[in-house]
Symmetry: C2
Subunit: 474 residues, 2 copies
């Protein structure tokens, strides 16, 4: 954990202790100095020490034992192994499997570990309803029939303001509102490619990206992707030289399914590399707002110099699923993307856009996000602990610093497709690894959703999943 | 005008008189028998005679002269000539022109004769707003995150009920809600074709269909299309034999831009012909509810026996533009279309769907439609009369029995593209003929929107358009 002199005092302290744990100087079971000792040795307030310890606890590095202080937590499960895909461009043939696996086979799901969304309980539904009603009063009738393919001006302005807070100057005219980020991603991909072209994607990667490639007759070049830090840039450079891909589609922050966060320096290098080869980046950044702590990560778009990063965002994961409002900040491709949107579906649904504009103007979005991030962090810790309790001891699992997915790698010989079928029959969903691969790899991996508030029924469902896994033991 | 023994008495009478006018037995300027005379000779009530005369007046066939009774109206302008396209499949290259022409070049438009929508003043905006608010209260939070690519169940049910009233039994499961009919049409076309395939379309035809063909790399086979009765079936049969097209995309009722209504018998023959050759029909029926009088026309889908008609409907033209809620009743293609929708944009925007479901449940849609149809009929008459006053005498123009478009054919040598540029500079928009052709034909034609309530400023704008046309005189 890198130390940052500009960080608040408690975070500096936490990072220092995390460093000691990481280096082995502090080992699992070791007792931390008491708050009083630390206060004295550091000359800081008790509050600072408490905050630092709380942060370390929230990262799963230390644990409080009642009345006896803080201890270094047991060593967490190792990260999943990094895939080493062939690097050869290949036709994608996974769509049929994905559609099958997205269905529930008629079973009622009580443990939605396979879901793509956080629990609806985490969203400000009542306030959104009021925004729907008041948003509709603010619209001029003429807006309804004048063709506005780019979408509601106020909402585009609000989105541009949020970019500005990250230090990105994005002209609202560059932003094209879409029916969810998914439509924008699809439009961007179609704009940049012709059938037969090769496109760089992560491995494992988001199944809807794979489906988009398949539908457009594109070939996938799968990149080795680190569970913590994202796509491998050395491999990327080699594969660009070898195959001259037409586009690169990456999730640079809290990647689906791994949850990896590409560090800012690496994002900068990524953009420089792609710009050198004049390859556009489709940056799927729909989890951008869901860091568990600290400031939001910068997107790769922050480092572009040529307008060739198409940054795709969404409110579906952070505020209003079902409203289907996403966008593309499309750089120099904005005029072409606007036309593609116009001829595909004219414009987005106006009431949802007006409601979100209204809600964002109200200024409560950041408060909501803080609560949502805390909830997701808490739920992830709970699910990680439950996996530790119930899954086989040689299970590997990610520990993302944002989003709400865990990627689990079961020991050799396990089969997530069989597990999926068995779990579904008991009302437990999950997303098997082969959904995230161009050719059905990751057979012993699965993605679990920790976007639901943790409850005893979910704990029991995860325990049951553990039993099903053990019963599979080859 | 065919007589129908099941029609109400006044309509029978009106049809009979229309027949006499059509055959030349009654000529322009002839005086009609007085209401008293007709009542006596027919043994019907005065109300019946008045209703019949009113209907004939609304059709533009007779005119009332104050205190002196009813006279046969002057012979209307002849219909535009029927295009005779080559019939050879050809690449489409019109998209760039269409995009240019859809723009306003920065001019503020006060006479939107080029608009694709009726005036927002004709829609029940306040009631829709209330439906937005109450619709959102009726939704369950789980609906927001459970993936419902088909769309809101209640709305699909309401749409199925409306089909049933026409005598069509459509399972709600067959209906896929889309972001406007346009998305559905695009998805259907993509589902049925591969790049290079040939597709049958009307000539002139809807520009978004042309753009869809161009984007997907399809070749267009343009069908000769009658301004009154739609696509030519003999030509269709020949072209099917010759070119083996993969799909057929037609607007069978109130076609855009001609306004033609294919009679039911012809629709039945169309479907039989396509079924014989196993060619799917994409039936773009977004003006279906906008007949100016009488019952709604049956769609071609009513005659299918093999589930190969993909019937595309919408609320954008009849109730709620900007909400972007359309659908496809996709027959045997429904499962595949649902998957295409899922991977393109997951699902439609939920608030708009819930609002429309709520509005339709309220039972006021039919009342609204009656008022809308009356308004469109009145406005069309007003615009036709204004064209007669202000355009050159050898102008040809359609007289559709539904929708809100007139197709105008100017005398030889006129140029609608130049006219468009000149008009736009004065705040008057129009849709030039070349937008409606695969290769930019119909240079002396234009489509005018009569969806705006007729006002003195619009009358002046049309007069000005007439001056611009005359000043073009080659």
């Amino acid at each position: 954990m890198k130390q940052d002199a500009a960080a608040p005092r408690y975070r500096q302290l936490a990072d220092e202790i995390a460093g000691l744990i990481g280096s082995g100087a502090l080992r699992p079971g070791d007792r931390l100095p008491s708050v009083r000792q630390t206060r004295a040795s550091r000359g800081c307030s008790a509050a600072t020490v408490f905050q630092a310890y709380y942060l370390l606890e929230s990262r799963g590095l230390i644990r409080a034992a009642e009345r006896s202080g803080y201890f270094v937590a047991p060593k967490p499960a190792p990260l999943p192994t990094r895939a080493e895909p062939s690097g050869e461009p290949q036709a994608v043939a996974v769509s049929e499997l994905v559609f099958q696996l997205l269905g529930t086979g008629g079973h009622e799901i009580h443990a939605p570990f396979g879901s793509a969304f956080p629990s609806p309980a985490l969203f400000p539904l009542e306030k959104l309803r009021r925004a729907l009603s008041s948003g509709s009063r603010h619209m001029s009738p003429a807006q309804l029939t004048s063709q506005l393919p780019g979408g509601d001006d106020e909402l585009r302005h609000q989105i541009a303001r949020r970019y500005l807070r990250l230090g990105l100057a994005i002209d609202p005219e560059e932003i094209v509102l879409c029916n969810g980020a998914l439509e924008g991603l699809n439009l961007a991909l179609q704009l940049l490619t012709r059938p037969g072209d090769a496109v760089l994607i992560e491995s494992p990667g988001f199944y809807a990206a794979l489906q988009a490639l398949e539908r457009l007759g594109l070939r996938a070049i799968e990149l080795p992707t680190d569970p913590a830090e994202g796509a491998d840039l050395e491999a990327l450079a080699t594969l660009i030289e070898r195959h001259r891909p037409k586009a690169c589609w990456l999730m640079t922050s809290f990647q689906n399914p791994l949850g990896g966060l590409m560090p800012s320096d690496k994002k900068r290098a990524l953009v420089a590399l792609l710009e050198r080869h004049d390859i556009a980046l489709i940056e799927d950044d729909v989890y951008a707002e869901l860091q568990h702590e600290g400031p939001a990560p910068l997107p790769a778009k922050a480092f572009e110099t040529r307008g060739a990063v198409l940054h795709c965002g969404s409110f579906s994961k952070s505020l209003a699923p079902g409203y289907r409002v996403g966008w593309v900040a499309a750089g120099r491709y904005a005029p072409a993307l606007l036309r593609a949107k116009l001829s595909l579906s004219l414009s987005g649904s106006w009431p949802a856009q007006a409601a979100l504009a209204q809600y964002l103007q109200g200024g409560e979005y950041d408060r909501h996000l803080r609560a949502l991030r805390r909830a997701l962090a808490t739920q992830q810790r709970a699910m990680l602990a439950a996996i530790e309790r119930h899954f086989p001891p040689d299970t590997r699992v990610t520990r993302p610093s944002g989003g709400y997915f865990l990627w689990v790698e079961l020991p050799e010989g396990h089969d997530s497709l069989a597990l999926h079928a068995a779990a579904l029959a008991e009302g437990i969903s999950l997303a098997p690894g082969p959904m995230f691969s161009a050719r059905g790899d990751f057979r012993r991996c699965l993605r679990l959703n920790c976007g639901q508030p943790w409850t005893p029924p979910l704990e029991r469902a995860l325990a049951r999943l553990g039993e099903l896994i053990r019963s599979q033991r080859p």
